[in-house]
Amino acid sequence: MAEPAVALNTLTDQEIVLLARGGQERAYRELVRRYERPIFSLLYRMVRDRELAEDLSQDTFVKALNAIESYKPEYKFSSWLFKIANNAAIDHLRRRELDTLSLEGSPHAVTPDAMEATALQIGDRGENALDIVEAKELGGEIERAIAQLRPEYRACILLRHVDGRAYEEIAEMLDLPLGTVKTYIHRARNELRRLLAHLKEP
């Protein structure tokens, strides 16, 4: 039977999940399209290795979508997805304790090409060449500073100030008490202020 032509981008996550549960592949794809960038960005900043972040992102989506029938619609789909992604990152960091700075490429890359391919890329914001260089330098400094935070501080500050999640949502995602989340975020901001103190106001 042909699927009814509903414009998926007008539907909420919950409605798309219902379509996915009804066996519509395009609903799965819509969920991937909606969250591939935020999930990949979070994981990239957590593990600081492009290839690894991509593998973990894939694992996150595969795990979530293959368990779509067990998702409880009373929770936000995005919270559920970010929780899976964060667990994947934390598990990996605990296993590997990968804490070396990798803006110049993955510490596991052995050739210049591999280093180039795995280097942290700072996106431009559509300005002229000088602005792009400045933005990349500033972005690089900020990414470097984030990379120096403890993983649990990093996850909290990224979810709060890059993804714009509420404290309560972060506490639920990371299975942490609300007070702990607030403390981590305040400490992370203090740490970033200290690490970025040499930067001038843009």
Binding site: T12, E36, P38, F40, S78, L192
Partner: protein, 200 residues
């Protein structure tokens, strides 16, 4: 409790200010306190920088690579879904088996008992039928009495006196019913809501 203008900002108060909530007492303190003023400026800057960080993009074909590893759900009938859920975990399997055994056991026990006591069963059946018939009659009688006692009953009955009037009233009722059904269909249509990250 009122905060004193002499107090330095707490972490929670800094959060409030960063969220755009800046009470006058805090503003007065910050204006006269170089420490809090500098702290707040630094916090604002960090938050601005973080919010301006770009989203990273995975390599092309990410969606297809994910979909190659995803098993799309095959829609199941309600019975198949029930069976799937019942057999999903050891606990649910044990519960389902327990329920099945108790249902089949009860059925078997009642059949055996009925075969052994046909006269008791017939007597119980007759009593139950009589009770249901009596109850039904009481309900119908009660409804009819209530209807006849209504002040509008005479006028409503007069409406159905001639076949023409009866046809008009029936037509009107059918039209109202059809309009109601159309309205309900519109009300239960899926709404179009705003979506997180839809513009990413």
């Amino acid at each position: 409790m009122e905060r004193s203008v002499l107090q330095h900002l707490t972490a929670d108060e800094i959060d409030l200010v960063l969220e755009g909530n800046y009470p006058e007492t805090m503003r007065t303190h910050v204006n006269g306190c170089p420490d809090c003023s500098s702290l707040l400026r630094g916090e604002r800057l960090v938050v601005q920088w973080l919010a301006a960080l770009p989203l990273h993009v995975p390599a092309a074909g990410f969606e297809d690579r994910v979909m190659a590893r995803v098993q799309v759900v095959t829609p199941r009938s309600a019975l198949a879904t029930l069976r799937h859920r019942a057999l999903a975990t050891p606990t649910s399997r044990a519960l389902a088996a327990g329920a099945l055994v108790s249902v089949l056991g009860s059925l078997a026990a009642s059949v055996i008992w009925s075969l052994g006591h046909p006269e008791v069963l017939a007597s119980l059946g007759m009593t139950a039928l009589r009770s249901v018939a009596e109850l039904g009659w009481v309900v119908v009688h009660g409804l009819a009495t209530t209807l006849v006692e209504q002040p509008w009953y005479g006028s409503a009955r007069a409406l159905a006196d001639s076949p023409a009037r009866l046809a008009i009233v029936t037509g009107g009722l059918l039209t109202a019913w059809a309009a109601g059904m159309l309205l309900l269909r519109r009300l239960i249509a899926i709404p179009a809501g705003s979506v997180a990250h839809e513009r990413i």
